[in-house]
């Protein structure tokens, strides 16, 4: 997020796209609700009529995977009606002319033909966003989990830049991070292309910095991203896998192919808190401590580094992941971590990353959390980014053209399936399904079906049904609802006995490798 969560309540326009915020980020959604109850205008763009749609001034029910068409239609309107911020564009950006040319043919009518949102609604949303001074964009996996996810993000950033909605309180570009420490995991360099602090592995100066600190020679070529690793297991390109804290056999797309390939691995090391499906296939399983049993830091969506503190002892012989990693790293011959505490580890990272250099456990203890960039020990942290103009000097406009998703419905696979998350469970649900109160609220997999489709297929509410795609099939209970539009179905990814990812496609975005969890073609079949 370029803004802070606390700024949301003071926004005057919220543009929420591809984020079911009340379910995926419920407490942040409370800030959105507060803003709207105070009088802020809300634009919600989502193929499903999510809760926030009910309080929106403009609800744009776009066809899944057509975000670029919608966003280009909005950009067209903003430019055609003279609602851009020419001073910001001139001072802080480059490449506007290319985007202007790109969106010129994307009239709201043409965009509407692709995305299904009425042209006048596209215009109204564009005008509202462009003409409100404090206007923020909020998005999450509905934008990124597509083969054109990067294009979607560029489409959004083009809107931000042409309206100058950056570098101010409550105005900015705000991806909401799905997991507690997505931000921190990226910050800390769990990335095939970046060292900690977003320093590129191909950058000679950056690499020399880490080589000097760690006392070893480092690889100067980018590694495999997760999507590529999963596919390389099939072909023998990956033979050994270390997995910490993820059940890849629930979370990764197109699971039948991955399961078939798992025996190709000659080494599978897993550390987790439960014996999940992946751990059951492992050669070695390390029992880990959960968040309540260890010290460390998480970094939230607003770049705030906050403490995690040991409250209870881990069960049995379980150990904190950091301790296991220090020991394992020593066993394979690198002893540079031996004797370090979490605070020492943070200090080592902060010493190698200008963005975090001013952050330490002592400061977090005293100040209660610090937002990076925080380059020096006397720097107060940064509430919103790009205050003095874009951090990289000039922000780049990137023209993007609409590309359809890789697998769309056809007569044999007539329904468009989208997958996602619910309020009551969390991802693979290894944690939430072990608390009865949330299980009472939601105990098993369901599939949202529009009543028109159900009536055509002869399906009743709560009836168990087979959901099938070209890759696999699961069973789920029909939930009749007009939250989904006719021709589309939706189901959650939380249930290990009905894994949504047996169904999903593993085609990834060309830049990030992030798979298209949000769109594939499916059938619903009666069980009897």
């Amino acid at each position: 997020m370029t803004n802070s969560i606390g700024e949301i309540r003071n926004a005057d326009c919220l543009f929420v796209i591809g984020s079911n915020t009340t379910e995926a980020h419920p407490v942040l959604a409370m800030e959105m609700k507060r803003a709207v109850l105070r009088g802020a205008k809300l634009i919600v763009a989502d193929p499903r009529r999510i809760w926030l749609a009910g309080m929106a001034d403009h609800y744009l029910q776009l066809n899944p995977g057509t975000d670029v068409a919608l966003l280009n239609g909005m950009a067209h309107t903003i430019i055609a009606e003279g609602l851009t911020d020419p001073a910001f564009i001139a001072q802080h950006t480059e490449g506007f002319e290319a985007v202007k040319a790109q969106v010129a043919p994307w009239t709201p009518e043409r965009a509407s033909a692709v995305c299904g949102v009425p042209a006048d609604d596209i215009r109204a949303a564009a005008r509202l966003y462009a003409t409100t001074y404090k206007a923020g964009i909020y998005y999450t996996l509905g934008i990124t989990e597509h083969t054109h996810g990067t294009d979607n993000v560029y489409g959004l950033s083009n809107l931000v830049l042409m309206t100058g909605h950056l570098g101010r309180e409550s105005s900015g570009m705000n991806p909401l991070r799905g997991q507690n420490n997505v931000q921190g995991a990226n910050d800390a360099g769990a990335s095939p292309i970046y060292f900690p602090g977003y320093q590129r592995v191909v950058d000679d100066d950056a690499r020399r910095r880490f080589e000097a600190a760690w006392g070893v020679a480092l690889d100067d070529q980018p590694g495999l991203n997760l999507n590529q690793m999963m596919k390389e297991i099939r072909t023998g390109g990956v033979r050994g896998l270390f997995v910490m804290g993820e059940d890849i056999l629930v979370s990764e797309p197109n699971l039948n192919e991955l399961e078939k390939a798992m025996p190709n691995l000659e080494a599978l090391i897993v550390q987790d808190i439960f014996l999940n499906l992946t751990a059951q296939r492992a050669d070695v399983v390390f029992p880990a401590a959960c968040f309540a049993e260890k010290d460390g830091t998480f970094t939230n969506s607003e770049r705030r580094v906050q403490r995690v503190r040991e409250a209870v002892a881990p069960p049995g012989q379980a150990r904190p992941d950091w301790q296991i990693l220090v020991d394992l790293t020593a066993r394979v011959g690198y002893t540079g971590n031996v004797g370090m505490t979490p605070s020492d580890i943070y200090d080592e990272m902060a010493g190698l990353c200008d963005k975090f250099a001013g952050i330490s456990y002592a400061r977090i203890e005293a100040e209660g959390g610090l937002q990076w960039p925080c380059p020096t020990p006397d720097h107060p942290g940064t509430r919103f980014l790009h205050r003095e103009g874009p951090l990289r000097g000039k922000a780049q406009f990137i023209p993007v053209d609409f590309r359809p998703s890789v697998e769309l419905p056809d007569p044999a696979w007539p329904l468009l399936l989208c997958t996602g998350r619910t309020l009551y469970h969390y991802n693979a649900a290894t944690q939430t399904r072990r608390d009865q109160g949330v299980v009472d609220k939601q105990s098993a997999c369901f599939v949202e079906v529009h009543p028109e489709d159900a009536s055509r297929l002869g399906l009743d509410d709560q009836e168990r049904v087979e959901v099938r795609t070209r890759r696999g099939a699961i069973e789920a209970a029909v939930r009749l609802t007009t939250r989904v539009a006719p021709g589309r179905i939706w189901l959650p990814m939380h249930f290990a006995e009905a894994r949504a990812n047996l169904l999903t496609v593993d085609a990834g975005d060309g830049v990030t490798g992030t798979a298209e969890y949000k769109v594939c073609a499916a059938q619903l079949n009666r069980l009897d």
Partner: protein, 377 residues
Amino acid sequence: MPDDVPPGPFPGSAAAPARAAGDGLATLSVVIDGTQVHAAPGETLLQAARRAGVTIPTLCHDERLAPTGACRMCLVESSDSRRMVPACRHPVAEGLEVVTDSARVHRHRQSLLSLYAADAPEGVKPGTELDRHMRTYGLEPGLPQVNAPREGRPDDDNKYVLFQPESCILCARCTRYCDEVEAVAAITLAERGSATTIATADNVSLLDSTCELCGGCIDTCPTGALVERKVAHRQDTFPSLKPVRTTCNYCGVGCQFDLQVDPAANQVVRVTSPAPGTTTNDGNLCVKGRFAYGFIGHPERLTEPLIRDASGELVPTDWDTALQRAADLLTGVRDKFGKDTLGFISSSRCTNEENYLVQKLARAAFGTNNCHQCAAT
């Protein structure tokens, strides 16, 4: 580049000047208990007093909610009114003289608290806001118990939120929180007169209502009428637990909360949110953060290292054996097929330090950049 915006107080929080106060400039001057206090137009007496360090007791007040002045706990004397006024919703005006601790105010607080005590057939729960006020101001006169026929929802089978009507004072913080913050309007004031109670529509279980089980009603309740069902039976629910401030492990909002630990049992027995205005989450939590902590000490947790034995079964072993086996397997793959046939999947569920160590394991120990994490796809 440096950014001179100071962090916190959180914008709009209790500690920050009220947004309702126009441009936030303190252009007015009032006198509170003999001390001159500057205030901004639109501020309330309570806000001005708190900023000046003057304590005015409240019950129905919550920074996150629009003031209603319902409980009468915050009545003070103000020069613009013959009657006492509720400080929580009385606006400041130039030259007002306010007295918050006169004999008259004190007498009022005692009488009011006596009324609340008379309407608490099971007694006032220790450690609650109401209990603290009674300890501060005393009960005078003692009044006989009244019998208010408030109904609860004995058939509500949700596992998290329990309503105990005998402790309720109808301050409506819970229903207003449900309307104004969570905005799901699941609970409401129902019935009339002394039978008035907190109910769902048709008195259905919270599971069948629009309730999303955020538990904000419990957090805001000043009397303990709304409590976590999991701990309602414990005598030490309110005092004597050890709070450990930490960060929620679910989504990326980064809510701060206190794990309330029973040290003798090595157990988290309750989760509470910090006071509004002090952390990013402004005192709020969601159903997962506040209630879904049962996994922490769950009997299915892994408690021993496991390795695959000759027969192909996963069997328990000691740490030394497990670490050596893992090291041998990983170095074996490296030696046989090359370093870049290893993949390291780190976790956005784990800490910064642990992610740093995984990428260091991949890069420094094995020389490969094949390192990514679960949020990547």
